[in-house]
Amino acid sequence: MPTFEVEGKKYDVDEDGFLQEPDLWTEDVAKDFAKSESIDALTDGHWKVINYIRNYYLQFGIAPMVRKVCKETGYKLSEIYQLFPSGPAKGACKLAGLPKPTGCV
C-alpha cells in the first residue's frame, strides 16, 4: 500500500493520495496534505470549505454535491478552484479526509 510521508509522519493512502482510513483524520492531515495539492498554507477560507465537507460527510456519510459546497460556504466555483487548485473533489475532499469520490462513469 502506498504511503504519504511528511515531516516524519506516515499516512496510508491510495494511489491518488486519498487517506485510507477516513476515521484517522485530524486537522494535521489537512495541513500535511496541503503541499501535495499545490496549496502553500491553509487559510480561513480553506478551513471553511474543509470543515463544511468534513461535517457533511460525518453527518450524511457522503461528500456534498459541489453546488452545495458553493452555496453553503458562499464561494463561487472559481474561488473554490483558487483555494484548491486541483478542485473540490481531488483537492478539498482529499484534505478533508474523505474516501475518493468516484470517477468518470
Partner: protein, 405 residues
C-alpha cells in the same frame, strides 16, 4: 505472418502474446498491430500488450477501479487508471487517459495530426482513440507527472481537454453544413459556440451528474443525439420539401420504383406518384428524411430551417434507458444559440434544485413528471411533446390554480 516458432519467442524481453497475435490475422485493420507499432514510444504500449494478453487468458479486466488525477484548475478531462498487475507490467502501473476536445465534425489537417502525435510521443504511450464514444480525441496512457506538461502543450497548440464526471460532457455534432446538403442548421458552429459558452461547466464539474449535448443537423441524426444526449438538437424544416420533378423522373428511368420504394415507405403515406409527377402533402409529412435519402438529387429539405430540441436520453443505468423526448418542436436556425443558452440555464436551475446526486435530467423528469418539469422551466405544454395524450384518468387537477383562474 511469422511462423509459429518466431511468433511465440519473446524477442528482447517483449511479452509473449499468443492470443493477441491471433488478432493480427484477418483482413480488418488490427488494434493489436497498432499497439505493437507504438512499442518504441515509451514502453507503455509493450506492457499494455502484456497486460491485455493476461486479460485474454484470465477473461477479466486488469484495470483497477478508476483513479482521480488531473491538471490544476480543472476537475475533469483526465481519467485515472492503475493496473492491478503493475508489478508485472510496471510501464502501465499508472496509465491515465486524457480526453481532448475534438474539432467540430472531426476535421483535421495533417499538421494538426502531427502536432498531436508529437506531443503524445513526448508525453504518453503513443496510443490514441480516434475517437472516444462521446466524441473526444482520446490520448491513451501516461503517468501523473506528464499530465500538466501534456496539457500545456495541447493548449499552446490550440487544443483543450474535454469533459468527465458530473459536468457538461464534450458536445459533439455531425458534419453538417461543411459537407452535407441536408443540414438544417450550422451544427459545427452551434456545437463550437456552445462548447465555448460552457468551458467552465465542462472543465469544472458542478452538476448533479453528466450532461451531454449533441447536435445533428437533420433527422438522420448521424451523431445519435436522440439516443445519447441529455440535450439533443436535431435539424428539421417547416416548409415544403423542394422537388425537382425532372430528377424524380430520372430516378424512375434509372430503375427506382417510386411508388413502391419511396411512396409506400413514407410513414404518413403523404406522397403520391402518378408516373409523371411526385406530389407531397407537406402538411402530413413528418420530415422523416426517407424520400430525401433515397433520391438526394430530386428532393431536398425546405428552406425554412431550424431544429427540434429534445431532452433526456441516457443509457440504462440507473432507472432504465431513455430516448430524448420533444421539448421544443421547432426553433429557427438563427435563433438556436440564444434559445438554447437560455433554455439550458433554466434546465440546470431546475435540476440543481430538484435533482439528486447522480440523477440524469431524463430520470428527474421521469420522477417528477414532464408536466411538473415544464412548469418548473416555464414552458407551455404542446401536443408535439407526447405520442398521445394520457389514457388513464388519474389526473392531478390543481384546485388552487383552477380557483385562481
Amino acid at each position: 505472418m511469422a511462423d509459429a516458432d518466431e511468433g511465440v519467442k519473446p524477442a528482447n524481453g517483449k511479452p509473449e502474446t499468443k492470443l493477441l497475435d491471433e488478432l493480427e490475422k484477418g483482413p480488418w485493420p488490427s488494434f493489436v498491430t497498432e499497439i505493437k507499432s507504438a512499442q518504441g514510444v515509451t514502453g507503455g504500449a509493450e506492457d499494455l500488450l502484456g497486460q491485455l494478453e493476461l486479460s485474454y487468458e484470465d477473461k477479466v479486466s486488469h484495470w483497477k477501479h478508476g483513479g482521480l488525477v488531473g491538471v490544476l484548475g480543472y476537475g475533469g478531462g483526465v481519467i485515472g487508471r492503475y493496473s492491478d498487475v503493475g508489478e508485472q507490467f510496471p510501464k502501465v502501473a499508472h496509465f491515465h487517459t486524457l480526453r481532448v476536445n475534438q474539432p467540430a465534425g472531426w476535421f483535421y489537417t495533417s499538421e494538426a495530426l502531427r502536432t498531436i502525435s508529437d506531443i503524445w510521443e513526448r508525453h504518453g504511450s503513443g496510443l490514441t482513440n480516434m475517437h472516444g464514444s462521446t466524441g473526444d480525441m482520446i490520448l491513451l496512457g501516461t503517468t501523473t507527472d506528464h499530465l500538466e506538461a501534456t496539457f500545456q502543450e495541447l493548449t499552446h497548440a490550440g487544443f483543450d481537454l474535454g469533459g468527465s464526471g458530473s459536468a457538461v460532457r464534450t458536445p459533439s455534432c455531425c458534419v453538417g453544413m461543411a459537407r452535407c446538403e441536408w443540414a438544417c442548421f450550422d451544427a459545427m458552429k452551434l456545437c463550437y459556440d456552445l462548447t465555448m459558452a460552457y468551458q467552465d461547466e465542462l472543465h469544472r464539474p458542478a452538476l448533479p451528474y453528466k450532461f451531454k449535448i449533441k447536435c445533428s443537423a437533420c433527422p438522420n441524426d448521424c451523431v445519435a443525439a436522440i439516443a445519447r444526449a441529455d440535450l439533443s438538437v436535431i435539424g428539421t424544416w417547416k416548409d415544403d420539401i423542394r422537388i425537382d420533378q425532372a430528377e424524380v423522373a430520372n430516378y424512375a428511368t434509372a430503375g427506382v420504383d417510386i411508388q413502391k420504394d419511396i411512396c409506400a415507405n413514407c410513414p404518413t403515406r403523404c406522397m403520391d406518384w402518378n408516373g409523371k409527377e411526385l406530389n407531397i402533402k407537406n402538411r402530413d409529412c413528418v420530415r422523416c428524411m426517407h424520400c430525401i435519402n433515397a433520391m438526394p438529387k430530386a428532393l431536398r429539405p425546405g428552406v425554412e430551417k431550424g431544429a427540434v430540441i429534445l431532452i433526456g436520453a441516457k443509457a440504462p443505468i440507473l432507472q432504465g434507458a431513455l430516448l430524448s423526448s420533444v421539448l421544443i418542436p421547432f426553433v429557427a436556425a438563427d435563433e438556436l444559440l440564444d434559445t438554447l443558452k437560455e433554455l439550458i440555464q433554466r434546465i440546470w436551475d431546475f435540476w440543481d434544485e430538484y435533482g439528486t446526486n447522480r440523477e440524469r435530467i431524463g430520470e428527474l423528469i421521469q420522477r417528477v413528471g414532464l408536466a411538473a418539469f415544464l412548469d418548473g422551466i416555464g414552458l407551455d405544454p404542446a401536443p408535439e411533446m407526447v405520442s398521445a395524450p394520457r389514457d388513464n384518468p388519474y389526473i392531478y387537477y390543481q384546485p388552487a390554480k383552477e380557483d385562481e383562474a
